[in-house]
């Protein structure tokens, strides 16, 4: 076997090369990653469900496809899906008691895409319940631990996918990002996380949270892998009416073109109060590196409405959530309270026991913001300020090709540290939320460490400007090599 690394540490593109040249088989690779899961997941807790037997069967199919010359870059490579993407015949829990026993009768669009690309599904990743949270501590089952320091959180809500990729428990994973839920865990786990442009990847079969904000994207070990996975999942889907009519390019072609002359803006509003000093230092070094690589970096860009983003988000996302989660009534599927006198009583008890505290908090908040007499003051006002935040970005992108900022204001925090104060937890997403409000793409890449804890940098682009952010991320990654470090488990 021609690799100096254990198989579970391989990137997707390395695995692809070894599979295509028959130096390894998919069954061999899948076994190695499943053994890694056996060895470390007791400590990391990245998986809600492991489907080892089905994975090995898919790996066998993949080996036959490779043998027959009918394979692509994803064929035979084992991966994880966050547990809010529907998988036919395999339970999809959203890390909620409400869906603990739910077995979807259909595949999400991304599941279908990956299956037809020959991907091997290892299992489903832990998350904050219904994707609401920033630490994965809101999982109704158990928290996930950060592979770089098991006493710390992996971020959230895609903490299972972030931790699994960092720990070698999956070659890559898909997460979902409503306010930072791919990028923030990527930053905290030292991996690459991409939130594509709203509408680029179909949301069909993604359990809905904030429908105007949700977007699926990859968590990977490097930027090349991110482009490969996006190639497989992007594109129009008639089953999602918000899916964009846009023909995506081959994203891997954008990678190697360099960033000489690229205009990079640094919004100064992202580097103010509450940001840890080590994050600012890492950012400063990263900006110097980008300049060294030939980019023009302007550190004095202003997105003046950034300070309103958190309030806008925590009105819009819960409002949409309160409507989306009305479907959990205990009638059609999911948890159902049986000790009830009538239909209303059954519904109230079902939702009382089926939902955890953060989900209830957001449903309540959204219900209030949408209720008679408050709609104009909260929801409509937030939608108007949303327009102003979008315009800030539009104006900045007239002058700059990409914008660069920290992904998370802090390094990974300790489990339990922010659980008692929702407002403190919400502040974890302060750097990532504006991107979802504006619907633009953003990628988080590893940019350094502080006392062994990863720190990420995000690169934001114009709508459908994934190529520019990939190009920037790749040039930076290749010049620094942070992505080659693996968590010492």
């Amino acid at each position: 076997m021609a690799t100096s690394r254990p198989l579970h540490e391989l990137t997707l593109h390395d695995a692809r090369d070894l599979l295509q040249t028959r130096q390894i088989s998919s069954v061999e690779l899948t076994r190695a990653v499943l053994e890694r899961v056996d060895a470390v997941d007791e400590r990391v807790k990245a998986y809600v469900t492991v489907s080892g037997e089905a994975a090995l069967k898919q790996a066998g199919d993949a080996d036959r496809a490779i043998g027959a010359g009918a394979s692509g870059p994803l064929t035979g490579v084992p991966m994880m899906l966050k547990d809010n993407m529907c998988t036919r015949g395999l339970r999809t829990t959203c890390s909620s008691r409400m869906l603990e026993q739910f077995v979807p009768p259909y595949d999400a669009h991304v599941t279908e895409r990956l299956r037809s690309a020959g991907a091997v599904l290892l299992g489903k990743g832990n998350m904050d319940e219904f994707a609401m949270g920033s630490s994965t501590e809101n999982s109704a089952f158990f928290p996930t631990h950060n592979p770089w320091d098991l006493e710390r959180v992996p971020g959230g809500s895609s903490g299972g996918p972030g931790a699994a990729v960092a720990a070698g428990e999956a070659v890559y994973a898909l997460g979902s990002d409503t306010g930072g839920s791919i990028r923030q865990p990527a930053s905290l786990c030292g991996v690459v996380g991409l939130k594509p442009t709203y509408g680029l990847v179909s949301r069909y079969g993604l359990v809905a949270f904030g429908s105007s904000l949700d977007q699926i994207g990859p968590l990977t070990k490097d930027v090349t892998d991110s482009a490969l996975v996006l190639n497989a999942i992007a594109g129009h889907d008639p089953k999602d009416s918000t899916s964009a009519r846009y023909a995506p390019p081959d994203y891997t072609k954008a990678l190697a073109s360099g960033i000489k002359g690229l205009r990079i803006g640094v919004p100064k509003e992202y580097l103010v109060e509450g940001i840890q000093e080590e994050v600012v230092e890492v950012m400063e070094r990263a900006l110097s590196k980008l300049e060294e690589l030939g980019a023009q970096v302007d550190r004095e860009v202003s997105l003046p409405h950034t300070r309103y983003a958190l309030a806008v988000y925590y009105i819009i996302a819960p409002s949409e959530a309160s409507a989306n989660l009305a479907r959990y009534d205990g009638v059609k599927y999911g948890y159902s309270a049986q000790d009830a006198d009538d239909m209303w009583d059954a519904m109230e008890k079902t939702r009382q026991y089926g939902f955890g505290p953060e989900v209830k908090r957001r449903i309540m908040l959204g219900t209030y913001a949408l209720s008679a007499g408050y709609y104009d003051a909260y929801y409509l006002k937030a939608q108007k300020v949303r327009t102003l935040i979008r315009r800030d970005f539009e104006k900045a992108f007239e002058k700059y090709d990409v914008l660069v900022a920290p992904t998370s204001p802090t390094v990974p925090f300790k489990l339990g540290d922010k659980m008692s104060d929702p407002v403190q937890m919400y502040l974890s997403d302060i750097c990532t939320i504006p991107v979802n409000i504006a619907g633009i793409p953003s990628i988080s890449v590893p940019a350094g460490f502080s006392f062994g804890l990863p720190i990420g940098m995000q690169i934001m682009g114009r709508p459908f400007g994934e190529e520019a952010i990939f190009r920037t991320a790749y040039a930076y990654e290749q010049a620094t090599g942070w992505h080659n470090l693996r968590a010492p488990l």
């Binding site: 409405h305 300070r307 309030a311 059609k332 009538d342 709508p463």
Partner: protein, 95 residues
């Protein structure tokens, strides 16, 4: 912006989420704190600003009204908490 216990009770009723007395007090406090953060928006002049409901410039999306197979009855009912002769069974609606 402090909520009263009665207001929290009313929101819980609208949202159909059952609550204990302790829940009501905890949510009263936490939701009041969160709503306070929203006051920052009061100072933004939005008099001439249209709302953004979502960021893709799409209006209504139409498709041809063509019949196609949907999920089988077995699939649809497979997750039903209570099923009766091919129907979802619910608790009494009228007392």
């Amino acid at each position: 912006m402090a909520l009263s216990k009665e207001e929290v009770q009313h929101i819980a009723l609208l949202a159909r989420v059952g609550m204990t007395e302790d829940d009501l007090e905890l949510f009263r406090e936490q939701l009041s704190n969160i709503l306070e953060q929203f006051q920052v928006l009061d100072g933004v002049d939005t008099s001439d600003v249209p709302p953004t409901s979502h960021t893709v410039d799409l209006t209504s999306v139409f498709r041809e009204d063509k019949a196609a197979p949907s999920l089988s009855k077995e699939d649809v009912l497979a997750n039903a908490p209570r099923e009766d002769e091919g129907f979802f069974r619910v608790k009494p609606v009228l007392g």
